[in-house]
Amino acid sequence: MDILILSIVILLYFLIIGYVGYVAWKGTKTSEDYMVAGRKTHPYIMALSYGATFISTAAIVGFGGIAGQFGMGILWLVFLNIIVGIFIAFVLFGKRTRKMGHNMGSLTFPEFLGRRFNSKFIQYFAGLIIFFAMPLYASVVLIGAARFIETTINIDFNLALLIMAIIVAGYVVLGGIKGVMYTDALQGSIMFLGMLFLLVTTYYLLGGVTNANQSLTNLAPLVPAQVSAVGGTGWTSFPVLGSPWWWTLVSTIILGVGIGVLAQPQLAVRFMTVKSNRELNRAVLVGGLFIFIMTGTAYIVGSLSNVYFFQQTGQIAVQVVEGNIDRIIPLFINQAMQEWFTYIFMLTLLSAAMSTLSSQFHVQGTSIGRDVYETILSKAGDRSVLITRIGILFSVTIALGLGYLLPGSIIALGTSLFFGICAAAFLSVFVCGLFWKRTTRAGAIAGMFAGTITSLFWLFFIYKKTAASLGISQALTGQDILLTSMPWPVVDPIVVAVPLAFVVTIVVSLFSKPPEPQYLDKCFEGV
């Protein structure tokens, strides 16, 4: 790795990103510009911005590493990412969110929920959930980028983490969502080309699609004994139905992100930035192709890295990285690809991390500036943009702190947990708010509470991966987990919390006073 060439490539990249951010900053005059880009975003920019925000280093490095461990069964997540994350999200959710958001004049996701149910409490409660939960997701995205920088140019992991955080914070604080979306679109284009090349090269390197997959199938006898014992069967076959390996793959990895995407605040706000449904129709095409190449490549290459490592070292991927699966993709790129591609992939990953981080920080900032400060104190104007900017800097600091503290192999798990918490807290309220006029304010608040509390209780006391490492259950009850009979310790909170939140929202709504028809007419006008 030639540090001089790499430095020039990265400097050039940052200059271009800086210029695009500056152009956006020049066009940001009002708080509506800062928060929803004046509601006039081009469909290509909106689709790529949505895709680049959705796909981060967590998807490429974290879930690519998971694919190295679990194999191609994770392709079900690619399917859900396209059908749920793009098609259903844009066609069913996006169009209503855009129109209703415009009718209600809402600029953020919590504000959308708050105004739909005419409740300030819902707005700042949702804002606080985002503000306190999002740093977990932001920190694992930071870790993903820092791991690649660490592996590629041999600098200290902690220093790489700090550099990434400072760069992203800079243009989010200045440019608002316009800066975020314009740079996202540029970064999304780089990501698309980088990942497409990686997919083609990997299959070419391993002798073509069928040959490569066949070689991976032939590795099945090498599945580690401890994985076989919990249901793992190989990298081209699904785990044993109902086994712990199956529950982890299906409930945490596939459902956590596959369904959780519908209630992501940083993605839902994108729907409110376009001026008509035509942009959303066009964005389905761009977004579908983008997600297919991004996630499909990460998961297929992650799985196939086992073939490459076995041919080179006689070991499977997990053994080569000594158990830290977050290092599988960085190591594969550095060893299997030509040096010039390592530079390109460096930019691909920087783009993936920066485009997601920028939106995370932007959403955290607006959740504290717009949804908490403005709502509780009933103040608006320039001061809330200042509070938003302070909130962004605070979020960056928290994410950076978590980045230093979190253990290895955390990227995919951290992402799934955040998506799961969002789904538990917001999905029932969001779906009922969009599609069921009979939903009441009491039902929405009860559903949010039920989802959030169930999700947190499950994480702290039942779900073994988190409960055992957090130690809260141990401290309070003397036991690592409260339910020891299978499959509960390996069932993700999303499987329990989301259905419960829906039931509570619907039942409480049916037993409480219906909302006023005039208010509903205003919300649903033209929908």
Binding site: W76, H102, V209, N213, T217, K275, R278, L285, G288
Partner: protein, 43 residues
């Protein structure tokens, strides 16, 4: 039955569904390319 070197239908099925999903998105985008602009025209 083995498809593309993958023996398990739960895995090659997902492989094929991914391709079908992206085809659905592309066809939907093309068919509706010019539809849905009423709000913009009104504006």
């Amino acid at each position: 039955m083995e498809v593309l070197g993958i023996p398990d239908p739960w895995v090659w099925g997902a492989y094929i569904l991914c391709i079908l999903a992206v085809i659905i998105c592309v066809i939907y985008g093309i068919i509706n390319w010019n539809k849905g602009g009423e709000d913009e025209e009104e504006q």
